[in-house]
Point group: C2
Chain length 236, copies 2
């Protein structure tokens, strides 16, 4: 973790620990520079990161303010990968339905930008939050990038393994959302009725060099599907 | 529009007009500087904006690449406000159900950070995409910030009016997503069956100074609810 990321984490933790309310003014730049004993550019980078994450907002000529206004029990739609970090407040477990190496379908090959003769790791698991079903997940990993997965890894956070053990850096993702109804099979895994509403999310995750490495299809239990997104002005 | 925003728009338009595929390498920084005849910092700001918007990705020491990989017919969840820009490919219309000044409920007052004695503009409308219902929207605008709305404005893009006519700048938004089923009233407006699945989105929009000005509740027709999000690495 780089220095500015560490400082950003420290500031975010301070806001959380002190339960600072939205609109609370943070110390001015000069104070932060003195406090963390780093250069102005490092503090600026830390603040820009916090602004992109939706933790603070900066008003030119006026100051730096707390933005975080999260509702309890909501899952961040943009940072729920591996769930681990964002869902620390929840008790999260997985049940593995399938884990095997196979050939990709055309759809999978297209989304992972690979050939039909190459191999993918196919992972199917049900994830539970506080003992209730959260989602049914099917993921396809390009085996030439993720050469090895086992039950122990898959039961825990695959993304932590990819970054910590393989040293790969996750760059960006394309996320597609649909609303629909559960098939009989999905309903069985999620312990809901066939035809119940679902949030269906397809994601393509890329490494920082742009290579897609994971294509996943997730059907969420609608009773547990409470998501939040913090959007920044530049995107609106 | 600032110079770097104009350049970002030009580059994005070039990518779209030439239908450049994901992974296509763009000219190096020096070439862009020479081509647009601006400083390095202006080009860098333009590229950072495009990266945040998910149009490109930059690989250190390797270059700038096209990222845009949008599926046809999908609505951007983070830039669909006012719909106008993102939905140019669609034919979008509105039918106003209600437009009136009233007192906020406790829920609305809380989300807009205002007193119960103050006034809000209440707007209820059905939005149509290509002649089919897209969503039922209820919005509450803080009247002390948005002093005037009429049918003409509400039938068109309220957000364009707010920025163009009132000169206000939209800063950031908090978005909450749920999946549920349609009530009889909602189903009637959306021309669907009662109990059909819906995507329900609550948003709080803030000005750049942090003041919330719009609290909206939108129920989407699930048959039209295809959204995409382009997420950046820092958020994952």
């Amino acid at each position: 973790m780089l220095k500015y990321q560490q400082i950003a984490n420290d500031i975010e933790k301070y806001i959380e620990d002190h339960a600072l309310q939205q609109g609370t003014k943070l110390p001015v730049l000069e104070t932060l520079i003195a406090q963390f004993q780093v250069s102005k550019s490092t503090i600026t980078k830390a603040l820009d990161l916090l602004e992109r994450k939706g933790v603070i907002f900066q008003v030119r000529g006026s100051g730096i303010f707390v933005r975080r206004h999260k509702r309890k029990g909501y899952i961040s739609l943009l940072s729920n990968q591996g769930f681990a970090r964002d869902l620390e407040e929840f008790d999260l477990t997985s049940e593995i339905i399938e884990l095997e190496v196979k050939k990709p379908t055309e759809e999978v090959a297209l989304n992972l930008n690979m050939d039909l003769e190459e191999d993918v790791y196919y992972v199917k698991r049900v994830r539970f939050m506080n003992g209730k079903t959260l989602c049914l997940e099917e993921s396809f990993y390009n085996k030439s990038l993720i050469p090895y997965l086992n039950h122990e890894i898959v039961k825990d956070s695959i993304f932590n393994y990819i970054s910590d053990a393989l040293g790969l850096k996750v760059g960006f993702s394309d996320i597609y959302l649909h609303v629909g109804t559960l098939t009989e099979e999905e309903a069985g895994f999620l312990q809901l009725d066939t035809g119940a509403p679902k949030l269906y999310v397809e994601s393509i995750f890329h490494l920082t060099n742009g290579q897609p490495f994971d294509f996943s299809k997730v059907s969420y239990n609608y009773e547990q599907s409470q998501f939040f997104i913090q959007a920044n002005g530049q995107l609106l």
